[in-house]
């Protein structure tokens, strides 16, 4: 019945697991943290990890970028994950008899276990190392992903009932046929990509040369790795960056990162790269190593300068050596981090087909290998994939295994198209609101140990950041059956969103709607509503707070006062607390522009003796036109009260700042209402 917006918010479409970023950010903005977390967890079994190290395709796609900067979606997820809510996951609709074997307790394997258990299957996870986590544990240093955060995610998955068997390498200790004989009906190979690639240059076998992945693994597992003063790290990916930053923390004085292309082509994350620069990592760009020197130990690294030629298969410009540009770096340790490949030899012997790239060959939709009951995903398939890609593979494979075991056809998920960019004239109408900065450990102290560098948003900062979300592809919808074609919405929208399609009669409210609520209130036919299920225009909250009115004291009269409070104000929490201390019922709304006159009247009907509206202080208003509209409805409602013969003071408009003045006006207001006595003389 409602006109559906074609297309989805780009943040949701861009995410490999289609995480409902907009929805949890909107809930966070309303301080509904628990519900927001549950939305995250419903699709993402690694919220604490993802909230730290995700590659944030959502933020790349964020439409706020054309106004100022993207919403810090990833850090908001981390804020929710750090709140330690217990996941509230739906019980499986049905228990199935089959047990699935999962090989590898990394993010792909654990995500598959999570989804399979929720689908009603039992799982056994085989892990070669003594602890689960895969690359997240041995490849990501603690200063980016603390063990406690990782453990929290993993424990939440394991507590669903997956069985974990550590110290078992499938292919070596147990074969695929053994698994079949043991009664497993399907196997998911999520073995990761842990075998380091080599440079193939002279001197690579010298002591003092180590692979990035081995270096990081030993730091985590305690292999006794040491670094000397001068360290060269070869590579431009996240592992190289992590190895360089870890080397610094292990005591190296001078760390150079050697990369054959320029900064622009570096595949590592921008945030991490900036942090590394702050920490003093030297970036030696357009350089490639040619030879490692040393007798019993590394003493130097011969390098050649490069220039960039035509783009290669990866779309990046191909580096070409510059003749006669050789130079030597004096180094004591060389860390090679130019990529990893999966260990597939043993699996290949077990009959699993391997691609030319050395990855496990799969069908991209069903994730099944050339053996029908064997599936594969994660880094073993993508090589250097991302955490969220691994989770996506885990989720997708679980569904595919379910289809396989139930004899159902795998349904290729329908891809929703993202909505278009904001049009330039509309960008001008949207208020600029700076992205919140992540609080971080100071550089001097953070390079001394492995403590987490990014400290996480405090609550107020998280809420403020979440309120920057433009609520893309959500917003208001018109019910064409109720629409009177009056054009009011077209005329009142501060963002020029509603449009009458050529030859049509009902306005279409497009995906750029900012959810200010002005049209919802002004629509005379009650035909417009906000699509978000968490948006109540103050009505439901009013009902719930008024339900708590205690019986009126017989001896002493205490007036019932309702305050409608704008959540966008930066000290709405102080204000809210002060109001509650004064015994005032508080209804928080995300902009007072959403208040209908009938809602204000309803407060009086529900026995309020007075109503006060507290907008945000200037500068905090997210919808600049919101105040103007709210003030008009305030005046409109005030006339109603006048006609009832009610004192004008019973409907008040207060500004939350300056604070002292607000507190003073508030207490004056309460005193005045006390003097006026109740609206109704009720025995």
């Amino acid at each position: 019945m409602n006109i559906k917006i074609k297309g989805e918010a780009p943040c949701i479409v861009a995410c490999p697991i289609n995480q409902d970023a907009r929805d949890y950010v909107q809930l966070l903005a309303r301080r509904n943290f628990e519900q927001a977390f549950q939305i995250v967890r419903s699709k993402n079994p690694f919220p604490a990890s993802c909230g730290r190290i995700c590659t944030r395709r959502c933020e790349e796609a964020c439409r706020r970028t054309s106004v100022d900067e993207p919403v810090a979606i990833c850090w908001l997820k981390r804020f929710l994950a750090d709140k330690d809510f217990t996941p509230n996951l739906p019980k499986p609709p049905k228990e199935y008899p089959e047990t699935v074997a999962i090989v590898g307790a990394g993010p792909a394997g654990l995500s598959a276990a999570n989804s399979l258990i929720l689908l009603g299957y039992k799982c056994v996870i085989f892990e070669e190392l003594q602890e689960p986590g895969g690359m997240l544990r041995v490849g990501v240093p603690r200063y980016r992903l603390p063990r406690e955060s990782l453990d929290k995610d993993i424990n939440n998955i394991l507590s669903l009932g997956a069985q974990l068997r550590t110290g078992i390498k499938v292919g070596r200790d147990i074969t695929l046929s053994d698994l079949q004989r043991e009664g497993f009906k399907a196997v998911f190979l999520a073995v990761g990509s842990h075998k380091p690639l080599k440079l193939d240059i002279p001197g690579e076998e010298l002591p003092g040369v180590i692979s990035g992945i081995e270096f990081l693994r030993q730091i985590t597992l305690g292999g006794g790795v040491k670094v000397d003063n001068r360290v060269a790290v070869i590579g431009g990916g996240d592992t190289a960056l992590d190895a360089a930053r870890a080397a610094l923390r292990m005591g190296a004085r001078d760390v150079s990162l050697i990369y054959r292309r320029s900064m622009e082509e570096m595949p590592c994350e921008t945030v991490g790269r900036k942090e590394a620069e702050e920490e003093g990592i030297k970036f030696v760009l357009l350089t490639t190593p040619a030879k490692i020197f040393g007798k019993n130990r590394v003493t130097g690294l011969r390098c050649i300068k490069m220039t960039l030629g035509e783009p290669d298969n990866s779309g990046r410009r191909r580096p070409i050596p510059l003749p006669g540009s050789g130079f030597t770096l004096q180094v004591d340790t060389v860390i090679v981090a130019i990529g990893q490949s999966p260990e597939v030899d043993l699996l290949s012997k077990n009959g699993v087909e391997i691609s030319e790239k050395g990855t496990i060959k799969i069908d991209n939709h069903t994730m099944s290998t050339t053996i029908p009951w064997v599936f594969a995903g994660g880094d073993a398939v993508t090589l250097g994939g991302t955490l969220v890609q691994a989770i996506a593979h885990g989720n997708q494979t679980a569904l595919s295994i379910h289809n396989y075991l139930r004899g159902e056809r795998f349904q290729i998920p329908v891809r929703t198209e993202p909505i278009k960019e904001l049009s330039p004239p509309r960008v001008q109408l949207i208020k600029r609101e700076a992205r919140q900065r992540m609080p971080m450990l100071p550089v001097e102290s953070r390079i001394k140990d492995f403590n987490e560098v990014e400290l996480g948003f405090p609550e107020e900062q998280a809420v403020k950041e979440a309120r920057r979300c433009l609520n893309c592809a959500a917003g208001a919808v018109v019910d064409p059956e109720l629409c009177a074609a009056c054009l009011t919405c077209v005329r009142v929208c501060p963002y020029d969103i509603p449009q009458i399609p050529l030859g049509g009669r009902t306005a279409e409210i497009g995906p750029d709607c900012q959810s200010c609520g002005v049209c919802v209130v002004e629509c005379p036919a009650n035909a417009i509503s906000l699509k978000d299920r968490y948006e109540d225009m103050g009505e439901k909250t009013l009902e719930s707070v008024m339900g708590q009115i205690p019986g009126r004291g017989i001896l002493q009269y205490a007036p019932t006062i309702v305050a409608f409070l704008c959540q966008y104000d930066s000290h709405s929490q102080t204000v809210s607390q002060k109001l509650r201390e004064n015994g005032i019922k508080v209804v928080e709304v995300s902009c007072i522009s959403k208040l209908e006159p009938r809602t204000l009247l309803k407060a009086f009907e529900m026995l309020a003796d007075a109503v006060v509206i507290i907008g945000s202080q200037s500068g905090d208003c997210h919808f600049d036109a919101g105040h103007t509209w709210a003030k008009r409805r305030f005046d409109y409602t005030a006339l109603f009260l006048e006609t009832l013969g009610l004192e004008r003071q019973r409907l008040q408009w207060l500004s939350p700042t300056p604070e002292e003045e607000f507190f003073k006006s508030l207490s004056n207001f309460v005193e005045e209402i006390k003097k006026l006595g109740p609206v109704f003389q009720i025995v």
């Binding site: 054009l487 002004e522 009938r598 009247l601 006609t643 009832l644 609206v679």
Partner: protein
Amino acid sequence: MIVARPKSFEEIIRLIQNYKKVAVLGCGGCVTVRSIGGQKQAEELASLLRLWAKRQGKDVVVTEATLTRQCEPEFVESINDRANDWEVVISLACGVGVQCLAERFPRIKVLPGVDTIFMGATIEPGLYWERCVGCGECIVGETGGFCPVARCAKSLMNGPCGGSQGGRCEVSPDTPCVWQLIYERMEQLGMGEELDVIRPPKDWSVRPQRMIMEHLRKVDSRQ
């Protein structure tokens, strides 16, 4: 579109003060479009009446409903079942809607909640202006598209009068003299000479008007 304005609350409560079962009925037609008598206004008035009654210590049940259009019998039928519970109905429709309700529910006291003032257009959001009186004999084809019946204070057929000053009507300086507009437009159209012909007085006689669209009337199947 028909434009109305809300009646004063005092007038409404004076008319309903002796009743205990009151309904406020909005109309989904013209008065909705003008934000005067749609569902939201019906809810607001009902809310006000409940507050008023409670303050008076009166036990009054106030309900509200909104009909698609009060001027159509089929839509009026939709409240049949509920109408038994009402003693008095306040209609927020134009004068036509109020009368349709009154005719359909002879036992119920039907009151207008709005004053119907004119047929007019939206000049800008929130500003409506009279354009037609429904005189039954449209002449705007001969007056440059401006109606002197609706827009001249004297409804002159041969204007302007001496009160036209600087293009404004002497009755209100906010009102343009329609005859000035007529002359300007007719000149612009090259039809100024047509205004030299004196227009005879209008026939104001026959009221009420009735119109029959024979081809839309019910067919009696027994014939």
